[in-house]
Point group: C2
Chain length 397, copies 2
Amino acid sequence: MTRIAILGSTGSIGRSTLKIVEAYPERFSIVTLAAGNNIDIAFEDAKRWKPKIISMATAEGAEQLRKKLKVAGLEKIEVSEGTAGTVKVATHPEVDFVVSAIVGVAGLEATYEAVKAGKTVGLANKECLVAAGELLTVEARRQAKPLLPIDSEHNAVHQCMRAGRMEEVERVWLTASGGPFLNTPKSQFAGITVQQALNHPTWKMGQRITIDSATLMNKGFEVIEACRLFNLPPSRVQVMVHPQSTIHSMVEFVDGSILAQLSVTDMRLPILYALTYPERIISDLRLDVGELKRLDFAEPDLDKFPCLRLAYQAAEAGGAKTIALNAADEVAVAAFLEGKIRFTDISRVIARVLDETLDRHPESIIEVLLVDGEARRAAQKVVQGTKVTSTGPALVR
Amino acid sequence: MTRIAILGSTGSIGRSTLKIVEAYPERFSIVTLAAGNNIDIAFEDAKRWKPKIISMATAEGAEQLRKKLKVAGLEKIEVSEGTAGTVKVATHPEVDFVVSAIVGVAGLEATYEAVKAGKTVGLANKECLVAAGELLTVEARRQAKPLLPIDSEHNAVHQCMRAGRMEEVERVWLTASGGPFLNTPKSQFAGITVQQALNHPTWKMGQRITIDSATLMNKGFEVIEACRLFNLPPSRVQVMVHPQSTIHSMVEFVDGSILAQLSVTDMRLPILYALTYPERIISDLRLDVGELKRLDFAEPDLDKFPCLRLAYQAAEAGGAKTIALNAADEVAVAAFLEGKIRFTDISRVIARVLDETLDRHPESIIEVLLVDGEARRAAQKVVQGTKVTSTGPALVR
């Protein structure tokens, strides 16, 4: 029995994890949950899973949930809140496996504490590796516990890596669907609307990650994640466009053999893999190989997708630059979604913030959060200085 | 240092193996060689590699080689001959690794003796598994030594298998280039010439295997080999057409993950893999992933390629039927190459012989050879009874 804590239980990865726990009651149990702001879902989950602790994002949320649980006669369930609550959820002594799926830097501290507490951690949160990957991977190595990737690309890489040893890896190939603008001419990029950018061809995801997929910044983050998870320099992590998203990534070994992982595009598969690793258990998440007709590949166009180039630059520098990359992107994407800047401004905002960020290597989560905050403020300033004209693209002044 | 015996040193796999030994002199050495009938190549190899023993296919060949070696002052190299000579080569006490690459049943006994002597065996010879796989795999398990496949498909499967455990395998997908007649209408099959059939789109190989690729019988043999190597029923070994031959095969695990192996179409890669397993060493056998454009897949057409269906039938029955399948195919292909029967008669000859073969499970190599001989005689009879008319397809009377 694997005893699970979910950080981000009301989000998409959280829901998929609960579906899996439901499907395999003999293998998995829920010990603790860290929810977001959705009281109704948190309440239903508390009733259904009877966690030891459930934590809400805010004090108000926690208070509301406490009241509802009392009315339902479930006051025994401890309700906690904020970062401290998430840390409690992540480090509960009965927890074996922590699913880290809180979007943004909010889950950083709890994930780090989980690793320090010797938990096996499944990482669905990009920020953990992009902003604090250097700290996390060192600590996981010290604990001799695996950091298991719960996203389709790195999970695929993890699977392919098993066909050889770490030091036999020549290169990792991350596949990218290419997003909705793969075939859009560069000249039309400035006019891309929010609605167009939210229309991802193969994956249904949250808004930020969908925009990040449209700019290929998401793939850039994945390059950084791969470098940290698999201890590779950025030059050994390459991106290839593969519109069907059937091959989730590939590993090239020194002898010239390349291993690829294929599957349906369903997040339950990497979650299940991480939860059961090193075993595999039967699922109905089947790719119909007989129906495979054609797989296409292309090199990414760095001129059309400058975010990917920026990510490689940040990856080379590491430390503060990757924190700033993530922070500036989050601010820029939010500004784009609010109509404050154009699609093409996203990379401009990030480039400016990267330029302003000094090379540093934070040695604690607090330092990471300080750099993150600085970069956010810098990005907000750039956004505020960006003028959207009615006739042309937005301009970074 | 891996000390190697090559059974079939003058053939294509033998030459590739020697190229590898040449490229990595610090890792590999040649202890013994079993050559075919080519005295000149055998003599050059003897001079270059100074094996302890070199065996020739025939007594005449051995005598000629002895004379040449004496003239060259190399009479210390022991020259042996025939099956006994090949067994000596395969079981030499200083040999660690035996490359089994003699085409046909001639290498059967030596390969079996190598396994019994506790050598690690790399199998490039189909007959070993198709005709005697049940015996070989049992003996290899008893010796706790791996049987390592040296052909691109099973080598790919072997690599993919490393991402899970044997009991977690749902299915193996063998890829097939489809051969030169993938897109030829069935109505034209009876008129296929020897020259057309020898024109394989992706691999340069010997004549028999090229014809077997054109009928898909080669893939049928591979289904049987996969069943035996990986202990799977035929229903769990499937074939998919993949004209580019870039994915060499795939393994589907019970959780729904599929691992695929991709590489250049160069036999040196699976040979190198087998020789160094479980390690991988650096080679320049590189697939340019950046140049990958498109991979296509289709289901095989069993109406056009009845040999594949016959192979599945034989695989289900096992034992004598698979021996007869191989023997009848060898006779039928030879008859086709000699213009005695038509392309479409190959499957008819084999079907007839399979019908006539009783279900038995030979328990020794001698019994295997007896069944093999019977099936060959039966196939010869069917071939002799086949009338090639000048106006229409050849007919099995």
